[in-house]
């Protein structure tokens, strides 16, 4: 007989692990990309907003979480309007600079510094914080155009606040010899994660920089040591190699001023040697830290009852940070779809979800999405897709 007065055991939360699934095909992605490139040349680049949208639609819709595909519902026109608005803002800024030059400075400033120089400098100084604002606003745009199970994603918070915070933290980090990197990484991840939501379901972030400082300090000093050793190795190899091959300064000058197939071969060899040295000594360390940081940030994120984890290894981070970069560079940009495909597969392979959300409690977000997007990001930052 069962004692019905005894308390029932609390039901264990469902922590069934699952991974996203990416089922895109590289050949299909290339078909879309080549069309995008051809239209770019025909329209002198103005089709890029639509091309980017098509590529996103492909990537998003081939990505499924818990069996349900993502939807990307952004429009090229929205991106173009965002870009044109920022162009207009720049025009107004240019007008203000001109008025200042004409009526306040009376065309007289530091010798050699013309109106155009002042405008360029002002953009340089404004561009850094605006790029951060653009990063946040761009993320907001992409999230609000993304749906899962018909529910729109969203990102709260202020892009300008994020821009100010990111600018201040980067400045402080630079002044402190990059020693604030863990603090900066956590403080900047916090608004990007904790302000994101799927409908009414917020993401939560519980990261603390103190958790990762130990690893970072190890990386920091190992990195300095690795640079010293790498430079010493490079200088020794160049001096010894030059002497043993009987190369004098004149030969080097001749080599670099009159291109021959031999010059190209030597340059490729040199670039390869430098890359191997850099790749062996420096990059693995950096990837080791970045993989750790990624795992940490993911593991401190949750969405209601869903927990996240990642098993990204140093080697996989190398493939993401270094190999992807090399692919794009070596192929002069034509390898971009390959990189996007590799990245999607990496995320699908290395992002683990534990549990599933209570779908009935997640509703459409109350806020209206932004009408346009990514203008600042387009103008002040290098954007992929």
């Amino acid at each position: 007989m069962t004692d019905i007065s005894a308390p029932a055991p609390a039901s264990a939360p469902d922590l069934t692990p699952s991974r996203p699934v990416y089922d895109g095909k590289l050949s299909e992605l290339y078909g879309i990309y080549f069309r995008h490139l051809a239209l770019m040349v025909l329209t002198l680049g103005w089709s890029r907003f639509w091309g980017r949208t098509r590529l996103r639609r492909y990537l998003w819709s081939h990505f499924a979480v818990l069996g349900d595909r993502l939807e990307y519902r952004g429009r090229g026109l929205e991106l173009m309007i965002g870009f044109v608005l920022v162009l207009l803002m720049l025009g107004v800024w240019g007008g203000l600079i001109w008025a200042f030059w004409e009526y306040v400075l009376h065309e007289k400033s530091i010798p050699g510094l013309g109106l155009f120089d002042i405008f360029t400098f002002s953009l340089f100084f404004l561009g850094v914080p605006l790029a951060f604002v653009g990063h946040y606003a761009g993320l907001r745009y992409r999230l609000t155009r993304t749906r899962w199970r018909g529910i729109r994603c969203d990102l709260g918070g202020s892009a300008w606040g994020y821009g100010a915070k990111a600018t201040g933290l980067h400045l402080a980090n630079g002044l402190c010899g990059q020693l604030l990197t863990p603090l900066m990484s956590v403080l900047l991840a916090q608004p990007r994660i904790a302000n994101a939501r799927l409908g009414t379901q917020r993401l939560e972030f519980a990261g603390r920089s103190g958790d990762i400082y130990g690893r970072f300090i190890g990386y920091y000093f190992l990195n300095i040591l690795a640079w010293i050793v790498a430079i010493a190795v490079a200088v020794t190899a160049a001096t010894w190699g030059g002497r043993s091959l009987g190369i004098v300064e004149k030969d080097v000058t001749e080599l670099f001023t009159h291109f021959t197939p031999r010059t190209v071969l030597i340059l490729i060899g040199l670039a390869f040697a430098l890359y191997v040295l850099f790749g062996v000594m420096i990059l693995p360390l950096r990837c080791w830290w970045q993989a750790y940081l990624w795992r940490y940030l993911v593991s401190r994120t949750r969405a209601g009852t869903v927990l996240f984890a990642s098993a990204m290894s140093t080697r996989q981070m190398w493939g993401f940070l270094v190999l992807n970069y090399l692919i794009v560079m070596v192929t002069l940009g034509l390898g971009w779809p390959w990189v996007a495909h590799r990245t999607a597969r990496l995320i699908a392979g290395q992002l683990w979800l534990y549990g599933s959300p209570d779908g009935a409690s997640i509703r459409q977000p109350p806020d209206r999405p932004p009408r346009f997007g990514e203008g600042l990001l387009e103008m002040f930052d290098v954007t992929g897709v």
């Binding site: 490139l37 595909r69 940009g333």
Partner: protein, 390 residues
């Protein structure tokens, strides 16, 4: 991914596995075949989001509600049953075919764009309204002469401007040419858009005779009549656009591209110099003037600087090697002198014999400045070789 049909109600994030029954006027969505209906969508209100090329499964939408039919065969059947949803049954286009078509188109367009830059700049540069060219030239001239003293002796300027305009006429240039002379060095001359020529007085001072200056002037006229400065600008702009389109604005690639662009610009520069050399000689010969001046001038330069920087720099140089230029422009010392003795004397004295300050004329002044800053007369003009090497 399992071939199933998922229904999202658009209100919550619940997902249901459903079956769909299409009819001519509605889609009936139910949890099990025909029973437990969860939604009825009037056909007129159903939209297909996207297409089979870009979407793995083009969603069917009714407001915020979604229906994801994973099974391609079922999508085809719905498309057959409901003509308004015919697009849903479209097969995925062949990736290979699209790569072949668009890849070839892209390559062909790049080639065309390249040809367009090369030939387009050749054709378009002379068509740029002369007023615009003159304005552009004037603004660059303003920058170049700022803070320098100009040589303004009327007789000297008349001599050099007279020859310049005779050469322009011989080339059917059709626009007035104006020569401005800056006091001092380096030993150089420039051509700006709109028929504006800029000489440094050191070039005139160091020349052995008027024919050498005439040779340089004719060379600069070669640049002017071929609109090299406008062509250079147009090509640079076109090349930047091409690189931007090719690399999708990827910044590091842009840097690599800019390096390539710079090399091409320098190659253009060397070709322009060769054109200007040969045109300059032709123009002098056409006027029956001595055409050996430019080669003599180059020979003097070579003597003064035996290490030829242009040859040293090779592909990084804006000019061809001096020895090559001497060989290309070598002419016999026949023909009339380009300047009369009086004209040559006036030109030698264009900066004033007592080296008095010649302020920048009004048209080049930066407007609101009350006085143009005039640096004290230099004891040693910049750019000259050290005394031991003169």
């Amino acid at each position: 991914m399992a071939a199933r049909t998922r229904y999202y109600d658009g209100v919550t994030a619940q997902a249901l596995d459903v079956t769909v029954r299409p009819s001519t006027h509605e889609l009936v969505i139910s949890r099990t075949e025909g029973i437990d209906v969860v939604a009825r969508w009037p056909i007129g209100e159903v939209r297909i989001l996207g297409d089979s090329e870009h979407e793995a499964v083009p969603p069917l939408a009714h407001g915020d509600e979604r229906l994801m039919v994973e099974d391609a065969e079922l999508r085809r059947q719905i498309a057959l049953a409901v003509p308004q949803l015919a697009k849903l049954g479209a097969p995925k286009p062949s990736a290979t075919g699209r790569i072949a078509i668009f890849g070839t188109t892209f390559a062909a367009l790049l080639g065309l764009f390249w040809v367009g830059i090369d030939f387009g700049s050749e054709l378009a540069a002379p068509m740029v309204p002369y007023s615009l060219q003159a304005r552009l030239g004037n603004s660059v001239m303003k920058e170049l002469v700022a803070g320098h003293q100009l040589c303004t002796s009327p007789a000297g300027l008349a001599a050099i401007n007279g020859l310049a305009n005779r050469l322009a006429k011989a080339a059917d240039y059709g626009h007035p040419v104006k020569v401005t002379i800056i006091r001092g060095g380096p030993i150089n001359a420039f051509t700006l858009p709109g028929g504006q020529l800029l000489f440094y007085s050191d070039l005139i001072d160091k020349a052995h005779d008027g024919n050498e200056v005439a040779g340089v002037l004719a060379h600069e006229m070669g640049h002017a009549v071929h609109y090299h400065s406008m062509k250079g600008l147009a090509r640079q702009y076109g090349l930047n656009q091409l690189l931007r389109l090719m690399t999708g604005g990827y910044s590091d690639l842009g840097t690599v591209g800019a390096g390539g662009g710079l090399l091409l610009a320098l190659q253009n520069g060397r070709n322009f110099e060769r054109d200007a050399d040969s045109t300059g000689v032709l123009l002098l010969e056409k006027l029956g003037l001595r055409a050996d001046g430019i080669a003599e001038f180059f020979a003097d330069l070579e003597k003064a600087h035996p290490t030829d920087m242009a040859a040293q720099l090779g592909i990084w140089s804006t000019h061809p090697p001096t020895a090559e230029r001497i060989a290309a422009t070598k002419r016999p010392p026949t023909g009339k002198p380009a300047f009369s003795d009086e004209e040559w004397a006036a030109l030698k004295a264009v900066c004033g014999s007592n080296k008095e300050n010649n302020p920048v004329p009004e048209r080049f002044r930066q407007k609101p400045l009350a006085t143009v800053p005039t640096p004290p007369p230099a004891k040693e003009p910049p750019g000259l070789p050290p005394p031991g090497k003169r």
